[in-house]
Point group: C2
Chain length 402, copies 2
Amino acid sequence: MKTVGIIVEYNPFHNGHLYHARQARQAAKADLVIAVMSGHFLQRGEPAIVNKWARARMALENGVDLVVELPYAFSVQKAEYFSKGAVSILHELSCNSFCFGSENGRIGDFLLSAEQVEASSHLLNPLIRKHMRKGVSFPKAQTLAREELFEDTLPLDLSQPNNILGFHYVQANRTLETPMEPLTIKRQQAGFHEEALSDQPIASATGIRKAIHERKGLKAVEQYVPPSVFKELTRYYNYYGQLHSWELYWPLLKYRLLSSSPSELACLYEVTEGIEYRLQQAARSASSFTDFMQAVKTKRYTWTRIQRMLVHILLNVPKEEMNEALESARYIRLLGMNGKGRQYLNEIKKNLSLPLITKAAAYKKELALDIKATEVYALGLEPYSSHSLVLSEYNEPPVILT
Amino acid sequence: MKTVGIIVEYNPFHNGHLYHARQARQAAKADLVIAVMSGHFLQRGEPAIVNKWARARMALENGVDLVVELPYAFSVQKAEYFSKGAVSILHELSCNSFCFGSENGRIGDFLLSAEQVEASSHLLNPLIRKHMRKGVSFPKAQTLAREELFEDTLPLDLSQPNNILGFHYVQANRTLETPMEPLTIKRQQAGFHEEALSDQPIASATGIRKAIHERKGLKAVEQYVPPSVFKELTRYYNYYGQLHSWELYWPLLKYRLLSSSPSELACLYEVTEGIEYRLQQAARSASSFTDFMQAVKTKRYTWTRIQRMLVHILLNVPKEEMNEALESARYIRLLGMNGKGRQYLNEIKKNLSLPLITKAAAYKKELALDIKATEVYALGLEPYSSHSLVLSEYNEPPVILT
């Protein structure tokens, strides 16, 4: 079977994702689409709006055949590590190609840019450091350094968020012994962070979440998601009484910040340069997560970098544990599949070099961070639902769509 | 001025406390009653039902002239340390005597018993250890050892909770260079832990809290507290929308237990013998604090010892910090006074060997644990009230009743 891999978060799944999954299948002439998906906490440093099984179901109902989880060690990470983790999992699953959406849409531009940047890395890195010394964030310094070095000679506009991610996928793929074929499709409408909803059927996930969390109700987003997703979101909300957002975890984060010593906070992943004092001070007077972020933000750190740091603080993840997990989080955690996905998995199972995990209970040690992520994620729910969600983490078999 | 000291928690202040304050003044022929009172977390390992300023006000309105705070380092502690801390503060404040309520009511019995126990401590301690090896709790082992050693020759029944506390006050007082005169009065009606309310005007604080927390409403306890206390409780409830109980802090405690590693928990004060595993396991499935305590309790630990341990976990207090604080928490934190109290304080101020703290802002380091206690205690309230309570910790002048 010919397979194409995609890297997703589905927060939540919407019509743009449907388009992406279909186009990926077509572009790759693939029989099978495999998605590697972030679990309960996402690359931008946020809790997922619904849990990972619900999101896996959305995927399977809308053009994906197999869904595996991107471990926490890679999912709540800057683009480089996120990409490395995701690409290596697709590769391990023997994908022939992988396909990502981008603002650019031409794979040649990605390949050329990756070559150019790699060839000049010895020149680029000192420039990045120079700009960082002026107090700007790392991504901003990268952009400035690239502009200085390449002026307009880089074919890819790396100030666009999906171009950046794609660029890192392509870079990660180039380091594999047997790289997959990289493919990209041009994203339709709605920019990545576009918050305003329009009358088009495609809106950004950011815009959709915003509409939901501002209590405009699920109805307000019905036109932007496939009918099965609308049903899933409604079912989730009715069952759990909640969709998840940072505000739900703010009391816990505030408690953690106030009850920890600065030196305890400084041991946690991504907490550097004394920002722990700034976080504690802001936590003292902030009355909501939004409030808190407004007080904490600085031009030295991107919004998402701060949010990722806060996820690591919320989960109490020490630097040491995360650095170790970056090396050792080597497993395939199956979240869901349809008949075709199952058949494929049976075929390749014997060639897998990593453990294939269908039930977490037997892999508590390996999955420690993912399990902790679920336990903390579940605390956003009422006790009964919370407990049942944690039991799912241990015992839920993969979602199977027949 | 002749002064008598009393050791209190006022959780909440009730008619029995009023009786105690009056009798203490009479018995000591004192011009002034000084209370040393636990702050936001109490000896039995519980959050106080209302904050310390409200409780200081209740005291001042009902027969107490001066209220100072027993530091966290002593208040959330077994009887020995609790007594040592409280007695030493009363002594520092130049009390001529101190007076406690007891089931026994005869001071001679306390003095004789203290002498007898001290004289036999070399025999008693091995017996206590013997009983503990059989897996019973420390207080139980103490009782068994005393029964074995003294049979019925000890004049004091040390199985009664107020007798035990008084016994430790007397012991602590004996170690002072210039001991105060110890006095005791017989407690009226209602046993210490008596939970059922009767038609008498005196009920136990336990019974009163139980009635309140079981949502019988404040009206149900009106007859057991002075009118000013009833007003204060009502005002508090209307302002903060809450009276405090462990259930309010259960989500935070559960989060702390689930997001900490066993070795992190094992570093905290009173967490010993691998009980951290038991706590984590119970936290996973418990849906309330009551539920959790039922799952955790064991005959090896008393209920209050476990609760105290949980307060230290909630506040994230390491063994090291607490052991240090037990030595270094040497200050007089003024919570409130009336005119007579103020006059007395002016008289003795120059003779105080410890700092007299009226505003915490200047003593952040010394008060670190008390401030943390307030910050965590405040998290039980809505954001706005929570913030104002924390500001009180830093800036609230003592309650002054004129």
